[in-house]
């Protein structure tokens, strides 16, 4: 079985809490708040004003640049204001506030569950539709998908690498989506292959999801050029560069994008969104997210309309347990701890993990014993012990020489450190400064 070639760790996957839980729809909120920043790139520009009536699927904010994404109303009702809201980290961001009235959809959206396999659009039309639907990478980075489908001149895509790895512990939404919407994902893959004008797609799935591997293998026999690659369990296999290495044995050079080696990577959830956008005219207004944790009453996979306050989603999953010490947006390796749960859900939230107080605290760090476990764990072949030390000493030029910008924030070094040293905290800090230095140089 294949896997990536450098580094990696084996965290306990803890997927039992929510694995194989049927995707359930969370009831609509009374008031929805739609942030205008739900993607990487420029914020979207609001197209509605106070008092406007909107329907489900209606465009309410348009992309603010090439790297940006449209935002559609996930609910129907009246716009009460366009103002700023506070996200889960206490930062302000612009948002559209809607009072929900009923659930009235735009008529052109096909809400049936019927599979539609026929797509007669050409590449340009497909990309246009994906762009219009505001689709972004749902694996976590939220990079606008249409940008990936338009390689820069001189570069040609050869293979679509489909991310069904879900290497973050606890999360199960992609797994469940493959089990329930496997056929739709296959059609989505065909659509993307047509958009990229390529003949080959590889779906990477880790072998802790044997049922999904079997199902996708069975389905892929009916779709030309699509194959499934079962991968050995190892974190961070879902990292873009690691996944390409694991699936097609090509390593994306430092500082470049996957297209450099002819690969385009998309997550299964993104591909399902592409299917819905192209075949069903349904823009990206909801996603499946995992709500989980040791003491959570109803851990599971929930389909949530964007704009629903996170607190309501958690309430639906049985509420926040008494024992909770930390609430994380995303998985435990790369997710961000939230300081409140009032923020509206959006394209970025792939899961909510509630850790108990005991699980929440870091252990006391002690001196580095130079065991080199961080060096062998780093999937980018860096030296975390050295980088963290250089960051602590503010020696940023040396950090740059030691390729700190290749760091993907996966956390393997800190996870594995027997001395509990906050390696990634330091590296992240240094990386921010090095990035600023590089930008400053470029402007000169």
């Amino acid at each position: 079985m294949k896997t990536f070639r450098i580094g990696g760790v084996h965290p306990n996957d803890n997927k039992i809490y929510s694995a194989h839980k049927q995707i359930t729809e969370v009831p609509l909120p009374k008031k929805a708040v739609i942030p205008l920043v739900q993607h990487i790139g420029a914020p979207a520009k609001a197209l509605v004003v106070k008092g406007d009536k909107v329907k489900v699927g209606q465009l309410i904010a348009e992309a603010g640049g090439f790297v940006s994404a449209n935002i559609h109303s996930p609910v129907s009702g009246t716009v009460t204001k366009v103002d700023s809201t506070v996200d889960a980290w206490g930062l302000r961001m612009p948002a559209i506030f809607i009072d929900v009235e009923g659930d009235e959809w735009l008529p052109e959206i096909d809400r049936s569950n019927e599979l539609n396999t026929i797509c007669k659009l050409d590449a340009k039309e497909i990309i246009e539709k994906i762009k219009a639907a505001g689709i972004v990478g749902l694996g976590g980075a939220c990079f606008p998908t249409h940008v990936k489908l338009m390689p820069p001149p001189g570069k040609k895509a050869e293979v679509l690498v489909v991310n069904g790895v879900e290497c973050e512990p606890y999360l199960t939404c992609d797994h469940q989506l493959m089990l329930e919407k496997g056929e739709e994902i296959m059609v989505g893959i065909q659509i993307l292959m047509r958009a990229l004008d390529i003949k080959k797609a590889v779906i990477g799935i880790e072998n802790n999801k044997t049922d999904a591997i079997k199902l996708m293998q069975k389905l892929s026999s009916r779709y030309l050029g699509v194959s499934v690659e079962p991968l050995k369990l190892r974190y961070p296999q879902g990292g873009e560069k690691q996944l390409i290495d694991a699936c097609i044995s090509r390593q994306v050079p430092s500082g470049t994008l996957p297209i450099e080696v002819g690969a385009v990577v998309d997550n299964v959830a993104t591909i399902f969104a592409v299917y819905e956008a192209v075949q069903k005219n349904k823009p990206l207004i909801s996603r499946v997210m995992t709500v989980t944790g040791k003491d959570v009453k109803n851990p599971g996979n929930y389909s949530v309309r964007f704009g629903t306050p996170l607190s309501e989603v958690l309430e639906f999953a049985g509420g926040i347990p008494q024992s909770t010490g930390k609430i994380i947006g995303g998985g435990p390796m790369m997710g961000r701890a939230m300081n409140n749960v009032d923020m509206p859900t959006n394209k970025r939230v792939s899961g909510v993990l509630m850790l108990t107080k005991e699980e929440s605290c870091r252990k006391e760090p002690s001196a580095c014993i130079r065991c080199a476990k961080c060096v062998s764990a780093c999937p980018m072949g860096l030296e975390p012990y050295l980088l963290s030390k250089l960051a602590a000493l503010s020696r940023f030029d040396e950090m740059e020489k030691h390729n700190v910008m290749d760091c993907i924030d996966c956390g393997c070094c800190q996870f594995t450190c027997p001395s509990n040293r906050p390696l990634l905290d330091y590296i992240r800090m240094g990386k921010a400064q090095v990035g600023a230095n590089i930008r400053a140089r470029a402007q000169k």
């Binding site: 909770t324 930390k326 107080k357 001196a367 060096v375 860096l382």
Partner: protein, 328 residues
């Protein structure tokens, strides 16, 4: 609900710890310890007890009263240093010499650099080599392996296989090698020597345990043993007068103990896989040079200490293979 805890990712930890790694090494040393007890009797227990207690005590006193830090003896690293130091001593060494060795190992080898993680040289070996130079007679008087029948104070002594090999080399006379013990006795541990180094098989069992628990990687031990085997093999098959065959070189002296337990010390060995291989090859070469041409019959301690000194420079020049690095 109370206030939520907010901290940056990652939010989970492997639950690996310094203590667990040290404990793994101590567990891995146990088979060799048991064989040594059977071979040398009470001296093993007495020497190791003095050494361990002294190391822990010195570390505690220095940390508490001189450096004025919290004592870190709970991480078991001082226990391990004490045990490894004892493994490198003859089992009938007078107790006060053991005490001096423990003091040099901890005070000079480790705490003078700032404690765990800061030292350049392997503390146990610093202690051992200090004793070897300061007390050459006592340090090279090897008791016979007579089990619990032997006395701590008044042991019968024996020549080590390495001394025999050295004599044969000096005389250029291979017939002297006939005095060597049988290979099986050397592998099992019924030969003279520092008490922990005698049983190659028991040490290998410990090494396998360390590999399985991912406490160490294969790079250092394999490169040391392979280099010794290759160099000794070249000398033997090219007909160097009096050269012993490579099996004897692999099983004799402190090589197994050094390759598996001493050279793999985290603090003093290189950080990258290739660095570790270079370090291992260096140790293997120096061992063979000292065994063949040096003044001492054995050179594992010196070889490891010399390569410890090269570790910082290896760390500077040997970088890990970066992801996506182009082949030259």
């Amino acid at each position: 609900m109370d206030k939520l805890i907010v901290s940056p990712a990652p939010h989970v930890h492997s639950s690996d710890s310094v203590r667990r790694n040290m404990l793994n090494v101590i567990i891995a040393l146990m088979p060799a310890y048991v064989v040594s007890m059977i071979a040398f009797g009470w001296g093993v227990i007495i020497t190791s007890a003095i050494s361990i207690v002294a190391c822990v005590l010195f570390e505690y006193l220095i940390a508490r009263f001189i450096l004025k830090q919290d004592a870190t003896i709970g991480d078991l690293s001082a226990v391990l240093t004490g045990l490894l130091l004892a493994f490198n001593l003859p089992c009938n060494l007078p107790w006060w010499i053991v005490l001096i060795g423990a003091f040099v190992a901890i005070a000079i080898g480790k705490m003078s650099f700032g404690g765990l993680g800061q030292n350049i040289f392997n503390p146990a070996l610093v202690g051992r080599v200090f004793l070897l130079i300061a007390f050459p007679v006592q340090m090279t008087t090897w008791p016979r392996p007579l089990g619990f029948a032997s006395s701590y104070l008044d042991a019968q002594t024996a020549a080590t296989p390495l001394a025999t090999m050295k004599n044969a080399l000096k005389a250029g006379d291979a017939s002297l090698l006939n005095e060597l013990p049988k290979l099986w006795d050397m592998a099992a541990g019924f030969i003279g020597g520092s008490f922990g180094e005698v049983s190659a098989i028991a040490l290998l069992v410990g090494g396998i345990y360390l590999l399985l628990t991912r406490t160490i990687t294969w790079h250092i031990p394999v490169s040391i043993l392979a280099t010794v085997a290759v160099v000794a093999g070249l000398m033997y098959w090219c007909g160097m007068p009096g050269a012993a065959s490579p099996e004897y070189h692999l099983l004799a002296g402190g090589l197994m103990l050094g390759a598996i337990f001493m050279a793999t010390d985290y603090v003093t060995s290189p950080m990258t896989a290739w660095g570790q291989i270079i370090y291992g090859i260096g140790i293997g070469f120096i061992v063979m040079v000292i065994r063949t041409w040096g003044a001492y019959p054995e050179g594992v301690s010196f070889a490891i200490l010399i390569m410890n000194g090269f570790t910082p420079i290896i760390n500077i020049y040997v970088r890990p293979k970066r992801f996506g690095e182009k082949k030259k």
